[in-house]
Assembly symmetry: C2
Homo-oligomer: 335 residues x 2
């Protein structure tokens, strides 16, 4: 079975024509007599020939018709929805998506970027990790069109699609304040992460706007997964003067907080950032700050598509809206 894949040469030999004629048939070019084309197609089918796209792209100097997508974790619904939005746009543009999970590890991110650039993807869509050196990243990307999602790169010249984190967080906390809460806890992700900082800030701003003194004991930052959030929430509920409400800074933290509240059996109000599946069916349906991750993916991919096609306009900064979806958990009154 040491037989290599058939090439156009092989097909040409089998069909008794020149290599160029095979190329014409494969690419649907004109100026081939129907019966010649037929013979070539026969040979292609007989040999099981499949054009080698690497060679084609190399010689054509053209596009690879692929884009790279770097997110934190495909298994997280937030990112997998983004990926789907991206794929839909990429498909329309005739491109495939090569996606990779950085796991928030800057080294892993750089590796992915390098790999993707060396493969000459037509463009890059990146949720930038925030602990690495932005300059190293920029160096690697240089020469490949790139759009950033969910978090800004340091680069002011880069196209970026963000969610209105500040506004969303403020809305969440406003809502809890409006329902009479004063001791409102805040659960957020690693402080390096832009969205976490913004949501934390939105929380503080909402309190300040209502003249409520923020209690640092009620803020837990640096929670990056369901378990971490659960532990933090359990601690908060065990406080001598526990919070009557909590703002959970993302989908994972919302799940963690819900588990902890359920385990503690308290009637703690909650508003979460990001919508979560089945939120409407919980014992107490979950009030959230909702937005459209797939739409973020689509918009970013469309921006990228434009750049790939040569758009040379000023950098775009898209801010996607959020909306409060009141379902019950955010409307629980203070104990």
């Amino acid at each position: 079975m040491g037989d290599r894949r058939p090439t156009m040469r092989d097909v040409a030999a089998a069909a008794g024509v020149s290599l160029k004629t095979v190329s014409r048939v494969v690419n649907g070019e004109s100026f081939v007599r129907p019966d010649t084309a037929e013979r070539v197609r026969d040979a292609i089918a007989r040999l099981g020939f499949q054009r080698n796209d690497l060679a084609r792209t190399l010689r054509g100097g053209g596009r690879t018709r692929s884009i790279g997508l770097i997110i934190e974790d495909v298994a997280n619904p937030f990112y997998s929805q983004i990926a789907r939005g991206v794929e839909d746009v990429a498909r329309a543009g005739g491109r495939l998506v090569i996606s990779g999970s950085s796991d928030e590890d800057p080294a892993r991110e750089l590796l992915l970027i390098r790999s993707l650039c060396e493969r000459r993807v037509d463009g890059l869509l990146i949720v930038p990790s925030q602990t690495g050196d932005p300059r190293r990243r920029a160096e690697l990307i240089a020469g490949t069109p790139a759009v950033f999602l969910d978090r800004p790169a340091d680069d002011p010249a880069a196209d970026t699609v963000l969610i209105d984190n500040l506004g969303g967080a403020r809305t969440a906390v406003d809502h809890l304040l409006a329902h009479g809460h004063r001791r409102i806890a805040c659960l957020v992700d690693l402080p390096e992460i832009f969205t976490a900082r913004q949501r934390h800030q939105g929380y503080l701003e909402a309190l300040a706007a209502h003249g409520v003194q923020a209690d640092p004991a009620l803020v837990r930052t640096g929670r990056h997964d369901v378990r971490g959030a659960g532990h933090a929430m359990t601690e908060l509920l065990a406080l001598p003067d526990p919070p009557t409400a909590v703002f959970a800074g993302n989908n994972l933290l919302t799940v963690g907080a819900l588990r902890a509240i359920g385990a503690a059996g308290t009637r703690t109000a909650l508003v979460g950032f990001d919508d979560v599946e089945l939120a409407d069916l919980l014992a107490t349906p979950v009030t959230v700050i909702a937005h459209e991750p797939a739409d973020m993916g689509r918009q970013a991919a469309e921006l990228l598509e434009g750049r790939i096609r040569g758009d040379t306009g000023p950098p775009a900064r898209i801010l996607l809206p959020t909306r409060l979806v009141a379902r019950g958990s955010g409307e629980i009154p203070p104990g």
Copy 2:
């Protein structure tokens, strides 16, 4: 801006060495004087050179260090968990994952396969759509190692990783029967889909084993999304003699059924196939037939990795176990 990307040639010229020396430095080969290597590295940095992987692979006759993954929909948690498992194994093998959603459309699937094969992915991981012509698919795949997930291809020579659908479904319905139910509804996906057929069959077998006469009016097949399942469930609950329990054939159908039951306000028992996020926190926590999608992805990817490396053993057929997770909804007694 008409400047093309720098090549090894350009680097060689800039460093005053030959192309081959640049190649040696880039590939970390030995037999380069440290100071020469230094000069080359300088030139690389100055020009922003990045090796063209297409050319490298073409010449080396080697692997593209990528694998293709074709699933139904990345946004569905079941598939995104698979994707993550696949990615982890691919990463360990130094490969990237190019993934595409077929949306259960055979034409789209063929397009993806062709595209991926022409790009010379090292291997293919496929959740085969089941409405197309298996022979056309097999023809396209020929020459590229492939492993099938979640559903068998027609091809008995193909490596396949499946879930124990039959056993899982039987366990689910056994459980409901054991809790005293006799009128048990069944919600399953399109009958073309292997897993739907198996789960339907498991349902029937469990009833038969308990000597319970199956009522065709309680079976709704061909439900492929949350809404479809919701409508079907609403209809079932409106029956003159409604079911007291339901077996939901996958994660989406479980969600739809839960919504309908919630809306109808009945105390209908439910066991779902696939675990769902937050199932434990629902008003009535959801009993499910759980399994590990990520593990399915990993095992399939490992099988593929082996084939890529030349394993020539007989076709593998892996059957992954399920387990019943009793959380409440499956233990509701008949009304």
